[in-house]
Symmetry: C2
């Protein structure tokens, strides 16, 4: 049970280490949608993504309670950087299991935070085996990317700030976040339930990794029919934990194609002059696709991250 007090404590704990990221608006995009959009810019967060929040909240508690001698996780993306960054803040060694196929630029970023990288084959089995091996060898504590209450409570602080800064005088009608493993979405829906109960929380999901919408409907953790999307941060399945929270507090999941994701990403780059990664563009793509659902509304959107390989842009 992640209470409001738990999320408040998480926020107090991580506040000295994170940016209170700005909330931006854009007239052109508002005009195009016919709604008032408020973008919470976690692309400006430490490590370039909201993942710093969950990683810090978990790692700071591991250090505080002396739960282990080191931190480990497996990730090819922003969570790897987040855990490496958080471990450095508390002076603990971090062992990050990364698929050998992960981009060199991401490996470099993790190494720059002083973490050790353990390369493995690019399969979930190999990644989990790599982590088990690290734990046996080093006594490290696993900080899972999303199946962890402390991580979820940390991710919840992004929407907490958004609501505190722009949703108290006049509530949001809707808040949107993308869904991959569901850590951010769980946290977002929980804190919105606590602080702004009349606000609907809606998720955006890529058509090419459409597991969450199936799981949301069936009530069981389902796999996606196929995985093929530019939104590389959203390929993961939900866990029992995140599915339960999402079924309880999320109103709907909307899916979008890669074409729609790229168009939304380009719109933000061109009009807002900020860099967001493809996964980050999924909620805006859903709003652009389903304008009627949001007409005249006050809508919060969590822009999740800005880590893109500039050598491999989709336009």
């Amino acid at each position: 049970m992640i209470s409001l007090a738990t999320i408040r404590e998480a926020h107090d704990r991580i506040r000295p280490y994170i940016h209170r990221t700005p909330v931006l608006t854009n007239h052109t995009i508002n005009d195009r949608v016919g709604a008032e959009l408020f973008f919470k810019c976690e692309n400006f967060q430490k490590v370039g993504a909201f993942k710093a929040r969950g990683g810090l909240n978990a790692v700071l508690q591991v250090a505080e309670h002396q739960e282990g001698k080191a931190i480990t996780t497996h990730s090819s993306g922003n969570h790897a950087q987040a855990v490496a960054f958080a471990a450095r803040q508390v002076g603990m060694p971090a062992y990050i299991v990364m698929p050998r196929t992960a981009p060199q630029v991401k490996k470099n970023a993790v190494r720059n935070y002083g973490a050790d990288i353990i390369e493995c084959e690019p399969t979930l089995d190999a990644r989990e085996a790599g982590v088990r091996d690290v734990i046996e060898r080093t006594g490290a504590v696993l900080v899972h990317p999303f199946d962890d209450d402390r991580v979820i409570a940390g991710q919840a602080t992004a929407a907490k700030e958004l609501i505190e800064d722009f949703g108290t005088e006049k509530s949001f009608d809707t808040i949107l976040a993308p869904v991959g493993g569901g850590g951010l979405l769980s946290g977002t829906s929980l804190i919105t339930h606590y602080l702004s109960p009349t606000t609907r929380v809606i998720a955006g999901e890529p058509e090419g990794a459409a597991d969450a919408i199936l799981s949301f409907r069936s009530g069981r953790v389902e796999k996606a029919p196929y995985i093929n999307t530019i939104a590389d941060g959203l390929m993961t399945n939900l866990s029992e934990r995140t599915l339960r929270l999402i079924r309880e507090h999320v109103a709907d999941i909307l899916t979008v194609s890669d074409e729609e994701i790229i168009a939304a990403m380009r719109l933000v780059w061109e009009r807002m002059k900020i860099i967001i990664e493809p996964s980050c563009a999924v909620p805006l793509a859903a709003v652009l696709k389903h304008k009627d659902q949001f007409a005249g509304q006050r809508v919060g959107i969590i822009l999740t991250g800005g880590n893109v390989d500039l050598g491999k842009l989709p336009f």
Copy 2:
């Protein structure tokens, strides 16, 4: 003579129409330079560039004093959009003479502000002839991109905000701006002279359009030895007016190669997650190239604009 009072009046005049753009900092870039950099983000300005300031200050006065029935200028870049935008604010027709080779995306932007485009051959002579023709035909008033005290006073307000927000408690050691025709640089050096007289103003100029450094040394308006640079906003020569102000108030001009410009642009995109255009990266490129000159300093940098063609990126 552009007095401090003139610049303050300009600021009061344009304030309702512009954004007070944020000033961003970045630890990684600071570490790399060994100085404390403060980036004034005019890439977030209306029309995506500082040019909105000068265009507004001129056009608002033309309207107020009923100097003519319409506005005209020649520009293939951000000044075209700025004048079109400003004319729309006062409900005046705008006739923008643009080379027929200007990118379609820029023509569309100008048209979206309701301005008429007059296409001409891509030479300075043809552009000036086009403007003369518009003036005869329509009674329009020319708002020159930089050779105009009202435009210069408007551009000065960017550095004014930067100094007001971050340079009063502890002065900047240096403020940098790029130099093309010299409107921004003149205004920046003037207002810095008035508000923060101990601060040095330094310009960055592309090696492939190195007219200002020659003019700065000789005291005459010189042409560049050759024009070949990715910084398409900085290809223009100075005018007598801007040269005089720059000789009086600017400490130095540093030149950088296109390779250095692209590297600085990429650094800002990757680390700050914001979109800047090549011309805009020139001052940072100069700081990165001449770190020793800025070591330990408090340095203000005007990021001038963010209008790039995403289909033609240099990386």
